[in-house]
């Protein structure tokens, strides 16, 4: 068998996979349109400082137990904000603190019974309950809920202030809007990394498992086809597709959100290839045996979901405990997203991301070999 013959095999398989891929309209939607829409949605949601609404219940009697020390907090909060007495029969009021830099905060207070307040809290309509005992405000909330914690911090700060006008002072706040420091700058490299993972993991596993269950793999290896050509050609087509998807996403983000790539394009391309290799190896390994799409879906979800949630694509993973962070740092998606971010927003070059490139490529290669060894063709 000569060299020319081998190239011909690889070529016909690549053309086959390519045609199969581009003739599926869903591929264009999920691969190109969907990531762009997601970046648009998230980018807009987090780039505009919208009014933040703080819905707070004010109660007189706590937990059904009447206390002689309890006094109605509602008129007293009204008085604190408006410096006048509350109109009679009023059960709710709002107060808006305007701030151009930080965005507006709107406090919505409702005068409720303890039971109603708890019901609304369970439904997520409020996240903070306030009462007043012996001239002191008491706050009831779940400290594990960051939004509730934020409401508590803001409200307690205000209620401790004599003059609310002080709140509007913001000379000491400087808004960072330099490219690279905004949320969208954090988001786009992460979304690109996640797009690579999703496309490789779902695309390749589906391509392999379906052909296995249709007995096409078995039919094809009854020809002189070199087995690894089949997988490598499938992989080559996916990388090309991923490149198009990623470039479109990044160009879109450059155009709409004015993000920039501050580091080396070559390093970015190398990281991109390394990420593809890592996930490629992983998916060959994961889908090397099963011929049932249901099992395949389960296995891919098992691998993909934890990374989607914990690799810091949407929000930083540094909020996890230190020991967990140490592990998360070495997940392939984390490594890919972190190194892409360092190129996009920190200006990293090839040297800074070389260890990531080596680890991702090497682990992908090992998994690919192992997957091919145990690969079931029929």
């Amino acid at each position: 068998m000569n060299r020319h013959f081998d190239l011909r095999q690889f070529w016909v398989l690549t053309v086959m996979h390519f045609k199969e891929l581009i003739r599926e309209p869903a591929v264009l939607f999920w691969g190109i349109v969907f990531p762009v829409l997601m970046s648009l949605g998230l980018g807009i949601a987090f780039s505009k400082t919208a009014d933040s609404q703080r819905n707070i219940a004010v109660v007189d009697i706590v937990k059904g137990q009447f206390s002689h020390d309890s006094i109605s907090a509602f008129p007293s909060i009204y008085n604190h904000f408006y410096k006048k007495s509350i109109p009679q029969k009023s059960v709710q009021f709002s107060f808006s603190i305007r701030n151009k830099k930080l965005g507006n905060t709107v406090f919505n207070f409702s005068h409720l019974s303890w039971e109603d307040a708890i019901r609304k809290l369970k439904r997520g309509e409020i996240n903070l309950i306030v009462s007043k005992e012996r001239e002191t405000f008491q706050y009831y909330f779940d400290p594990a809920n960051p939004d509730a914690q934020n409401s508590y911090m803001k409200l307690s700060q205000i209620l401790n202030l004599k003059n609310i006008a002080e709140l509007k002072r913001d000379e000491n706040v400087s808004v960072l809007s330099l490219p690279g420091t905004r949320y969208v700058d954090f988001l786009i490299p992460g979304l690109t990394a996640m797009g690579i993972m999703m496309s490789i993991m779902w695309g390749l596993s589906y391509g392999i498992i379906e052909k296995r269950s249709n007995k096409l793999l078995r039919r094809m290896i009854a020809t002189p086809m070199k087995k690894h050509y089949f997988i490598l050609s499938l992989f080559a087509v996916r990388i090309a597709m991923n490149l198009v998807e990623s470039v479109i996403l990044v160009l879109f983000a450059m155009l709409v959100f004015h993000i920039t790539i501050q580091g080396s394009i070559i390093a970015l391309f190398a990281v991109f290839i390394a990420g593809n290799i890592a996930f490629g190896g992983l998916v060959i390994f994961v889908s090397s045996r099963t011929s049932k799409t249901e099992t395949g879906n389960g296995l891919i979800n098992l691998v993909v979901m934890p990374m989607m949630m914990m690799s810091g694509i949407f929000f930083s993973y540094h909020n996890f405990p230190d020991i967990v962070v140490t592990i998360l740092k070495y997940l392939p998606l984390t490594m890919l997203a972190d190194s892409m971010r360092s190129i996009f927003i920190e200006g990293a070059g090839l040297m800074q991301v070389s260890s990531t490139i080596i680890i991702l490529s090497f682990s992908g290669f090992i998994l690919f070999i192992a997957g091919l060894k145990m690969f079931k063709w029929y």
Binding site: K215, L216, A222
Partner: protein, 311 residues
Amino acid sequence: MNQDIVVKVENVFKSFKTVKAVNGLSFEIKAGQFLALLGPNGAGKTTMVEMIEGIQQPDSGQIHIGGKEWKHHSKEIHQFIGLSLQETRFIDKLTVRETLNVFAGLYSLNKKRVNEVIEIVSLEEKQNAYVVNLSGGQRQRLALGISVINYPKLLLLDEPTTGLDPNARREVWHILQKMKNESNISLLLTTHYMEEAEQLCDNIIILDHGKILQEGTLDKLIEANGGKEIIEVTFKEIISGDFPILDSKLYHFDWDNTAQKLVLKLNDVDAGLKMFMAAIEQKNLKLSSFVSRKTTLDDLFISLTGRHLHE
């Protein structure tokens, strides 16, 4: 090894856990010969074919294809055989021509061969249609086209017409018959359609529980089992006990006392029937019904196993 023998299977055994799928099979296929492996589901047909295809390994025994073994000559054997599996689904959104191009490419063949194959399997009109839009018969013809693309000397077809309607089935047979007339290709076909084996094959092996029940040409098999004509008769009289006449050299019969039916098997209809009629005349028996038909492989299978092929 004799040059004319394309497949030689010698004393092959294959078991899966507790099931003996193939239990000591031996047979051979000569160049240009069409052989059918006939048997019910689970008879071991597919396992046997898969061992010839190289997909399964025999537990013991020898298989030579074109005088070669899989172990040492897989590349040569890949070039030597063409095959069609049960229910392969090709890629939906590739056209017939593109699908054939892929397989031609894997064998390093050019577009000229693709054109030839499209003509052989009569898919000229559908060559630019997506596979997903083909009928069952057209898909099977595509699979057949793929199996012959590499000019194989041996064709292995595993139930090539299962699930097809009678017309589509006949189209596949027509293509295979044409190949038989025009080339020296050999064919090993598994089927549970008697008509398919009758139409296409010179030799038939009837398998059951992984063993050969009987083998030979259709005529030989049928003659060995009593004759190629079957006549079923009933009588106006009620006959108790044994039937009152004896088998002759010209015919053989089975008497079903419960159904009061006589099944007569014979080769020479003229002489045999005259002799039989003379014999019942002598016993004063009068016919109530008379049905004459050709012996089928199903009759053969029933006489060999007591069961129908499709049971």
